[in-house]
């Protein structure tokens, strides 16, 4: 059965090729090929998972070498897939959630002129993402990494006729490129210093050759972190993700919530040995995560566009994953990745339904009262929101976020400050989440929905809602049964965090705090955005609050800053220096060649005797040189 592993990424690629080549497929055919290829991929992945989990824990590693990519002396990266507990979790989420989103898209994108193009890009994306998570070496991983970046670009600018969408795609591509450049330099560094890009060998060699805290692992880890920060939209490269919402909603759900943006988390977890060898970089990961989750949480609070709220929320939740990685709680980060994929995909798909029903209305303040009109969307959205807000005990988000907060508190690498940031972020999360719920689904009905729904839209919502609620029960903390199946499953790949014994006993107190914070946030949201909206309105009259609102609305002014610091000087320089000095050199070369041609073409007279004279003179010159020199 594991021999079929190649089929998991191959099926989406095949779907992509069929959709690109078969321009004459009917719409139903496009839907069958587009969603069917992911279904095959998911089915194979689940079958492999069933066989895989039956193995004893230490035998749960499988490598399939397909072919040797290139061979340059000793450096011979292979196209090889590696399946272990970590990549299996990633594969299951990518194919499972990916299939649900494709199913949803078959109905959601109905009537769009680029139907086949959409599914072709989506299939290519899933294939590239699977290459990324299954790659056995960093070079193949980088192929998948750039592949998903390309698909992200293509899909953000999917409706390319509007220049805003095309610009958003370009921005996403260029900003992530900053991180990718750091990452490729990091790959060069480890490849030249350790002589391999094979992940397992590389980790062993790094641990054996590089002392902890020395310059090389710090440089390597920092460069890889640069790539991760760009891809996962963390500080300071987070500016592209809110604009990436220009793409169709299923794209936001699949690429900019569930899978691609968590590639940075996967990369760090995959190369965790390097980060363990570089304590300052690991601390930086935690601090970046904590700062990002707070900043993005504040920005989410002020957005009007429902998709931008979700985008900032995604940045913030990935901040939690980075926080977990930074304190060495690798499996907690992957656990939060999984639950986040469920509830955030669900929230995006639910928001997609709302937006489509209201005839492309994104503004939260123009929604309202949709609770009775769209019952399926409402209840599933509520489940997703509860999970995002980490409603205690009954939601998946609670278990993963609680685990992260606990590890942040008790890990030797964590501490109270990071924990405070995490708890503050949790409060923000539940406020902005339920602000969204109350504004969109409660209150007065402002617009009557168009009333188009179907099983293909509802089934993914219901399945994801079930997962958003129940997906957390695979990791029960010690106070609630103590069945950490998920961490146990991952422990042969990702070591457990080292906890301070003195703090590790605070489980109950921390859980109570987390639960209270979550409920308090929901109450606050109810108070401010449903019950007493006048309070908020009167508070907003103060100029300081209005300025803060604008500042947060603009994402802490990062776009403006980058515009002033990077974009404008570059554009200015390009305008001033239209014909720069280096061009002159090449212009001069061209000019001298043209002049010489003009001069020499005069010697071509067409007269035989003239040519004979030329030959004679040439022969004389050469003879003279031979004889006298």
């Amino acid at each position: 059965m594991p021999d079929w592993l190649w089929l998991v990424p191959a099926a989406p690629f095949a779907g992509f090729l069929v959709l690109i080549a078969g321009a004459r497929l009917r719409r139903s055919g496009v839907a069958i090929v587009g969603a069917g290829s992911i279904a095959i991929s998911a089915a194979v992945a689940f079958a492999i998972a069933a066989r895989f989990t039956a193995l004893p824990p230490d035998a749960r590693v499988f490598t399939q070498t397909l072919w040797t990519w290139v061979r340059i002396g000793d450096f011979a990266p292979k196209v090889a897939l590696r399946l272990d507990a970590l990549s299996l979790v990633m594969v299951l989420v990518v194919t499972g959630v990916g299939f649900l989103i494709h199913l949803y898209s078959t109905a959601f994108m109905e009537g769009d002129e680029g139907y086949a193009r959409f599914f072709a890009y989506m299939n290519l994306f899933v294939g590239m993402m699977l290459v990324l998570v299954l790659a056995d070496n960093l070079l193949l991983l980088y192929l998948g990494w750039e592949g998903v970046g390309l698909c992200s670009y293509l899909l953000i600018g999917f409706w390319y006729r509007d220049p805003i969408n095309a610009n958003a795609g370009r921005k996403a591509f260029i900003v992530t490129r900053v991180g990718d450049t750091a990452m490729i330099i990091g790959l060069f560094l480890v490849a030249t210093r350790l002589g391999t890009l094979d992940i397992q060998t590389l980790m062993q060699r790094a641990a054996a050759q590089w002392p902890a805290g020395s310059a090389l692992p710090i440089a390597a880890a920092a460069l890889l972190l640069g790539g991760a920060v760009g891809k996962s939209a963390q500080l300071p490269l987070q500016t592209w993700l809110p604009d990436a919402m220009a793409g169709p909603t299923p794209v936001s759900a699949l690429i900019h919530a569930a899978t691609m943006v968590t590639a940075g988390v996967y990369l760090i977890a995959r190369t965790h040995v390097l980060f363990t060898l570089a304590p300052p970089v690991q601390l930086a990961v935690a601090i970046i995560g904590a700062a990002t989750l707070l900043l993005a949480g504040c920005s989410a609070l002020t957005q009007h566009d429902i998709k931008r709220v979700l985008a900032y929320s995604t940045i913030s939740q990935i901040g939690y994953m980075f926080l977990a990685l930074g304190v060495g709680a690798w499996s907690a980060a992957i656990f939060h990745f999984m639950t986040h994929a469920f509830f955030k995909a669900l929230l995006f798909l639910g928001a997609g339904v709302v937006i489509a029903e209201l005839d492309d209305e994104h503004d939260l303040f123009k929604m309202g009262g949709l609770r009775r009109e769209l019952p399926v969307a409402f209840w599933t959205f509520l489940a997703g929101s509860a999970s995002l807000a980490a409603l205690p005990v009954v939601t998946a988000g609670f278990y993963s976020k609680d685990l992260i907060l606990f590890e942040t508190w008790s890990s030797v690498l964590g501490g109270p400050w990071l924990w405070f940031a995490g708890v503050g972020g949790a409060l923000l999360t539940s406020v902005y989440t339920f602000r969204m719920v109350f504004l969109a689904f409660f209150g007065h009905l402002q617009r009557r929905p168009a009333g188009r729904s179907g099983w293909a839209l509802n089934v993914p919502l219901i399945v994801l809602a079930a997962l958003a609620i129940a997906g957390g029960f695979v990791e029960l903390p010690s106070t609630l049964g103590g069945k950490p199946y998920f961490s146990d499953f991952l422990q042969f790949v990702l070591p457990a965090a080292v906890n301070l014994p003195a703090r590790a006993t605070d489980v109950v107190r921390l859980q109570v705090v987390a639960g209270v914070v979550s409920l308090a946030g929901i109450y606050l949201a109810w108070l401010l955005f449903l019950r007493r909206r006048t309070v908020l309105a009167s508070a907003m009259r103060s100029p300081a609050l209005r300025a803060l609102d604008r500042f947060w609305f603009a994402g802490w002014g990062f776009d403006r800053l980058y515009d002033v610091v990077f974009v404008r000087p570059l554009v200015w320089f390009a305008t001033v220096d239209k014909s720069d000095g280096i061009d002159r050199i090449y212009d001069g070369l061209a000019w001298s060649a043209r002049t010489a041609w003009r001069a020499l073409s005069h010697t071509e007279t067409g007269r035989v005797r003239w040519y004979a004279a030329g030959i004679t003179v040439g022969a004389l010159v050469i003879t003279t040189i031979v004889i006298f020199l």
Partner: protein, 102 residues
């Protein structure tokens, strides 16, 4: 037998060659051009024969036979071209046939 010294033979050959070359350069009539080329070819042939005699090798005379054959072929083709040119242009002036200039 008293051999002709090689130097005198080569001097004759080079004088012949120079005369031929001069003819090629200064004459405009294509017939004379062809004749001058014949003179240059014979100068080369003479040089071969003289050198062959000096080293006692047959190669020089063989080369002369080659040159003879080649000269005959060249004259055949050349005269045909001259006749063609005369038909088309009504002249055998080499400078008149300068349509292929750059």
């Amino acid at each position: 037998m008293s051999a002709v010294p090689m130097t005198s033979g080569l001097i004759v050959a080079s004088v012949l060659f120079s005369l031929g070359l001069l003819g090629v350069l200064v004459r405009r009539n294509l017939i004379f051009l062809l004749v001058s080329i014949e003179v240059m070819l014979n100068a080369a042939g003479l040089a071969f024969v003289v050198a062959g005699a000096r080293w006692g090798a047959l190669d020089g005379q063989i080369m002369f036979l080659f040159i003879l054959v080649m000269a005959a072929a060249e004259v055949a083709v050349g005269l045909t071209l001259v006749i063609q040119l005369y038909h088309r242009m009504g002249t055998v002036d080499a400078d008149a046939a300068s349509m292929l200039r750059g």
